[in-house]
């Protein structure tokens, strides 16, 4: 298994990051193996951590009484699951469930926030990197809202 430092360095969002920052990040992270069907987090629960997926897929969704977990989006290798650890009130807005056995790097959100608070330069750098992923998520959501595959009947 690759070390956490090696895995993080291979991720596009951490491209060109300096080694000291990577070391700080790795200090808040650990390897994790998760069984298929495991609920990674649940709507309303405290958002304390997040995962970088190395292997497997995760469903992000909302639980409904009649349909169970309605999947809004899936995440796979190289993608991050969970952003609520970054924003008050630090509670999950969705559920996340492992669709397959997962290998992830799990980050302690409180640990990373603490390091960013004490070093604004680091905090700004990481925020810019995380923002690119949030921006990509937002664009994907906008595209889905367009419902491009649905063609209204013409005369």
């Amino acid at each position: 298994m690759k070390s956490i430092m090696e895995t993080l360095a291979a991720q596009p969002i951490f491209a060109d990051i300096d080694e000291s920052t990577l070391t700080l990040l790795a200090g808040c992270a650990r390897h994790q193996r998760i069984h298929a069907g495991t609920r990674l987090f649940t709507e309303g629960a405290p958002a304390t951590d997040f995962h970088l997926i190395r292997e497997g897929r995760v469903a992000l969704g909302i639980y409904t009484p009649h349909a169970g977990l309605v999947t809004l989006e899936t995440r796979g290798p190289g993608q991050i699951v969970g952003w609520s650890w970054l924003f008050p009130p630090y509670r999950w807005h969705f559920d996340a469930e492992a669709l397959e056995p997962l290998a992830t790097i799990q980050f302690d959100g409180h640990c990373i926030r603490g390091k960013c608070d004490s070093d604004p330069v680091l905090g700004y750098d990481l925020m810019k990197r995380f923002s690119t992923l949030l921006d990509a998520d937002l664009r994907s959501t906008h595209l889905r809202l367009l419902d491009v595959y649905h063609r209204a009947p013409t005369s």
């Binding site: 999947t71 899936t74 796979g76 290798p77 993608q79 491009v148 209204a152 009947p153 005369s155």
Partner: protein, 267 residues
């Protein structure tokens, strides 16, 4: 310009509002190429351009997958075995597989866009060793809208096939998200890859840009344009797209040739 009289010999319901017609022609057409289209005439209703969804060895049998979105396509979707229709074609310039030989390949299809790309995948499979790593990325509105599930499952035995839907449904355990997110799943390097993209124009724009971001060159991306093609022989001008006529210069174009024009909102 005169349609050949043809007869539906089989009709397969592919999903909500989508059928594939197997059509037998009274006179054999010129052998079609992947990506070309025929004009299908529903008698008493009108004529529409529909891409070939397969290039069978017999030139008097053709397959078209049709999505019911208007009066003519609705009339075509309602045809049953034994019913007649008119066929003109094949028209246009299709997919150019030549630059893909010896290279890695990405096929990105959204919705009904898989129909014109199916012959591309079939051509690759028929000569598999001539191509490098091949990834087929499929997007659809819902799981029920996924086309050709049996074929795509068979493709996955020798190609990387990734599928996603915009909206999940009960029982669906596959991916949910836009088709461009599947690019991150491709296991091979995309530099020097050749990409074939077909789907709604918005999807193709975002798809092509995502491919460029991944290192595919603009010349290496081919897209199939859709415009209002009526005569199919550059006489009516309805499909004019800047200096191009989609019916004869396309419908398949290198991205580098159409990218700038797709940014012109009045075109």
């Amino acid at each position: 310009m005169t349609p050949t009289v043809a007869r539906v010999v089989d009709r397969v319901v592919e999903g909500p509002g989508t059928v594939t017609l197997v059509i037998e022609l009274s006179d054999a057409l010129t052998a079609p190429a992947p990506g070309q289209f025929n004009m299908l005439w529903a008698y008493g209703v009108g004529e529409v351009p529909i891409s070939l969804c397969a290039v069978p060895p017999l030139t008097n049998v053709i397959l078209h997958t049709i999505h019911d979105v208007g009066a003519v396509s609705h009339a075509l979707c309602e045809l049953r075995p034994g019913d007649q229709l008119g066929v003109r074609g094949p028209f246009g310039i299709g997919w150019d597989l030549t630059p893909a030989r010896g290279q890695d390949v990405v096929v990105m299809a959204g919705g009904i866009g898989l129909a014109p790309l199916r012959p591309v995948v079939e051509a690759i499979l028929a000569d598999r060793e001539a191509y490098g790593q091949v990834a087929v990325l499929l997007g659809a509105r819902t799981p029920n809208d996924l086309l050709f599930p049996a074929e795509t499952a068979a493709w996955s035995l020798s190609l990387q096939v990734e599928t996603t839907v915009d909206r999940s449904a009960p029982g669906w355990t596959g991916d949910v998200g836009v088709v461009t997110t599947l690019l991150g799943r491709i296991r091979h390097n995309l530099t020097d890859a050749v990409a074939f993209v077909c789907g709604p124009e918005v999807m193709m724009r975002f798809g092509a840009r995502a491919l460029l971001d991944r290192g595919v060159s603009a010349e290496g991306i081919q897209v199939s344009m859709e415009r209002n093609m009526q005569c199919a022989v550059t006489m009516c001008g309805h499909c004019q797209f800047g200096e191009l006529f989609v019916c004869s210069d396309g419908p398949v174009f290198p991205w580098a040739r159409v990218e700038s024009m797709l940014g012109v909102r009045e075109l």
